[in-house]
Symmetry: D2
Subunit: 306 residues, 4 copies
């Protein structure tokens, strides 16, 4: 947190069929449905203190509507608003309540075609089931993969330098890991916390808002196995895993929600402090950097929703 | 990181016999000996990027000499220096090199009798064995408990309000967890990162610098079991565990180094963001708050080195 | 399986209050209630193929009524019946149906005061939830500790030579592990399978049928932690753990059901083949042999129900 | 153990380059080299009590020379010898010492082209590093994947009925799991212990002694991840995994030794008692039966050494 941006706070994902999607995110991923409003359904992982972090919206195409980052105060929101404008971006200020139980949001379109936003206030409802007064270790009512939290997103895009500028120079994120093809950065991972990434971009043609995956944290590698089992038990479309990433070293599975949006559940991996050297992977080792065990990109890796 | 303090960066511990101590911290805990200078031996965990985090000094009594926190810039060091003085503390500025490969340090005695210090520069040598260029998942030369990093310290002291003031109001830490006896705070956990605690204090009589334990992070609960096995194989004095804490919910073992200093190795537990509500345990549940499974303090819990 | 005895097949335990007991074994231990008949309630773990393995009977005192071993054929039952009688034991033949869905049983009182029985037939209902046709990895409806099976019992008794004779010489069990005080065997573990023990005895005064614990298998050390958490969440009386045994090296927790009968849930540990040397612990290391990490017997270790 | 066959006791594997092979099985798999004799090198896993279980022989082609099963007595060896001959097999009696520290062996060629043998005696050297007197939990000198034992082999062959007859009807194994294409058994798993398989066959054209893999047991799913990491760190050819099998439900990785022989390291999975119903997978679900998560056979699945 260099300029007051705290973490990836929420993501709004488009789904083709809400009933199927709710069943997937709730029964399979184990997220908690917190409420519904209009055509949207809201979820969180059990360790998250804010009211919600995942928003599903029924639409004709899958993909991501926007991803929001929480900042540490309302004053900071104004500062960063000014900084974004100075950087040359158009910023839309959305009023408090436009997103339920959430304060005003500063929304902008990144040069990769992704819409991001900042916000400073959202209702804090505390950890599910255990609360904050003599809290037990975990709630007993969890189901499915027992995802603990929405963790980060990975996007594909062409203008990696453009989003580097915004995240590092304007919003105060740190570059934690990168893949380099000679002098060109073809993968870049950013954080504003101790997590090895809050957001990441991989080079691909077209600045069309390509959505690679939203990622959810699991407690242990045992939980990753159980998540893979659940994928099989319920005939969910598996992309790859269980395996490990080279980048961040998280232990992971990729799979698809019923609308074709890729999900990740993962555990472990490296952590970040601002004095850590940037981790660099050579692009000719990108296979190992992405899928550490197979050491090659699978053919589905380029599949995205937009 | 609200005012630029990044993390618990190092701790200097007094030991009665250096050979025995080196064998314990190196062969049993699995820390890496980085170098020796004068009467001191320096160590780090394999995931730590700075050159060292643990310093052992041979002396006639066990205990802690000082604990240091890293700040994010040299300018910040001067700001915090001024803030500490304004708060009424005497601050000694120790020159760069006084601690090898470390920049100048601002040292002060807290009202609980513990000496703390801030520093902004220390040589960064990177992750042991894997480095930062196409890094493998972990190094194969680790031994013993394979401690990944020095994580935090817990102290006993009387003037909890005094150190609260320093850590929260002067240094910008957050209070993450507490135990309350009515209106009185009898345990307080502080962080400046996403870790649930970088430092913690428990109420006890006397402001004598009582050192409860230095804690080291392990990757998994499997590693906690192996650590307990190693304790038994090598006839190390066990305090308690494997078990879980109620406070922070980390999974833990307490044991003693050959000089009687308590060590902790732990994994997991809760994480922190600045918008998380403070966790409060009632003092009449302190047994469960400290040792979640047995739900009672053991008689050794009050044993400290000073 | 040297003389056709396959495994520990069931145990009947007396409880003081059936409602509390059912809640404990079902909601906390995660056993499945299979049916009720008269004053008895029947349970099994989800991996067990027979209809039930644990029988609770409401009574005025806690303790064990009997433990049954399954043999591999009806003919074998007659052979072993004859062998037991030749050994000088009184054997009661209980007719099929006396225990529901179970064939005839040969019951005898061991010189330690424990009642054991052999049976060859019990209804096989298969693995819970997954069955035997294209079986999924595990059922999703498990609760609490998710005990996978009734595993073994440990008893206290004086005439250890007497039961050694019966189990080893008459029933064809192997001695797998023992603790020796000079020439005297003070602990003896027997198996008829690959499990390191199907039944075990520890020397204690009085041949009164003292019941130390019934043990239930968990899949992983992660499950042992979760079991300990559940013990704490529901204020179950903990004896000791999570820890490891020296004998068998299983990772374990001991706790008490609401009637005061000790339960164990454990995972891992050693396995047996008939050519394995007997493992011997010296009695002066009995603390470590029983509780590998603390290396001392706790004061409750001698507590039994009879 | 119905007719005295105890377990899969050893396997002799042909390798193209002994130095590379020793490095693989010793440094990577973590087997212990026990001795060398002539052109052969002998290994065991640390939990195995016999002197060795894996024999490597340098040759011009990879593949398996023979797999041996231990029986419980010398008398039993003669009985089974007679039974094999009566079944119509040619049995070669190899004298004691032909295989070092091993008694006489009864060797026969199965109709699938695989050579199997029975033996009753081999030097018992006990568990590596811990022994059988006050044994510690595990030895600290293990390296690489820390394979605990040679566990089982899987073969391809055409005459599945022929080997069924030998293993079930002559040697007293049980059929534990199978895949059925209508009335035809296309996969069959056999055991003589509590392990879900000591040996298995999958239908494939040609009775040429096709060797699919030798399998080695790991303690935990954490160890499976570490094994996969080691595969990647040392550029070992990965086949598939980490993943789970549907058949037996073991958690697994397949990879290749430097000569092209497939190895498996795995943990967990189902266990067997003689009253367990046979598990049946439908052949149209063979993908899921073999690779539970991807639910499809990979193209390398048919690759074997002969």
């Amino acid at each position: 947190m260099k300029k007051g941006v705290m973490r990836a706070g929420h993501v709004q994902i488009r789904v083709l069929d809400m009933d199927e999607a709710v069943s997937h995110y709730k029964q399979r991923m184990g997220l908690l449905e917190t409420h519904r409003e209009g055509d949207r359904v809201f979820f969180k992982g059990w360790t998250e203190c804010e009211k919600y972090s995942v928003i599903l919206r029924e639409a004709d195409s899958a993909g991501m509507d926007f991803m929001g980052f929480k900042v540490d105060s309302d004053a900071r929101l104004d500062e960063l608003h000014a900084d974004l404008i100075e950087h040359g971006l158009e910023v839309d200020e959305l009023p408090a309540g436009d997103l339920p139980d959430c304060g005003r949001r500063m929304s902008f379109l990144a040069p990769t075609g992704h819409r991001f936003e900042l916000y400073a206030e959202k209702e804090v409802t505390g950890r599910h089931g255990v609360g904050h007064h003599n809290p037990e270790a975990w709630p007993e009512d969890l189901v499915g993969m027992k995802a603990t939290r929405f963790d980060h997103c990975l996007f594909h895009g062409e203008d990696l330098d453009g989003v580097y500028d915004i995240f590092v120079n304007v919003l105060g994120f740190w570059l934690t890991e990168q893949a380099m093809a000679g002098e060109e950065r073809v993968a870049q991972f950013f954080t504003c916390s101790m997590k090895e990434h809050e957001i990441a971009f991989i080079k691909a043609e077209g600045n069309t808002g390509a959505f690679h995956h939203a990622s959810f944290h699991l407690e242990t590698w045992q939980d990753v196995l159980h998540a893979a089992d659940i994928i099989s038990m319920h005939d969910i479309s598996l992309d790859i895993g269980p395996t490990r990433h080279g980048l961040t070293h998280g232990a992971t599975i990729y799979f698809f929600d019923p609308s074709g949006n890729r999900n990740e559940t993962f555990c472990g991996g490296d952590y970040f402090f601002p004095d850590h050297p940037v981790v660099t992977w050579d692009a000719d080792k990108l296979g190992k950097a992405v899928f550490y065990h197979s050491r090659e990109l699978n053919e589905r890796f380029l599949t995205v929703t937009t």
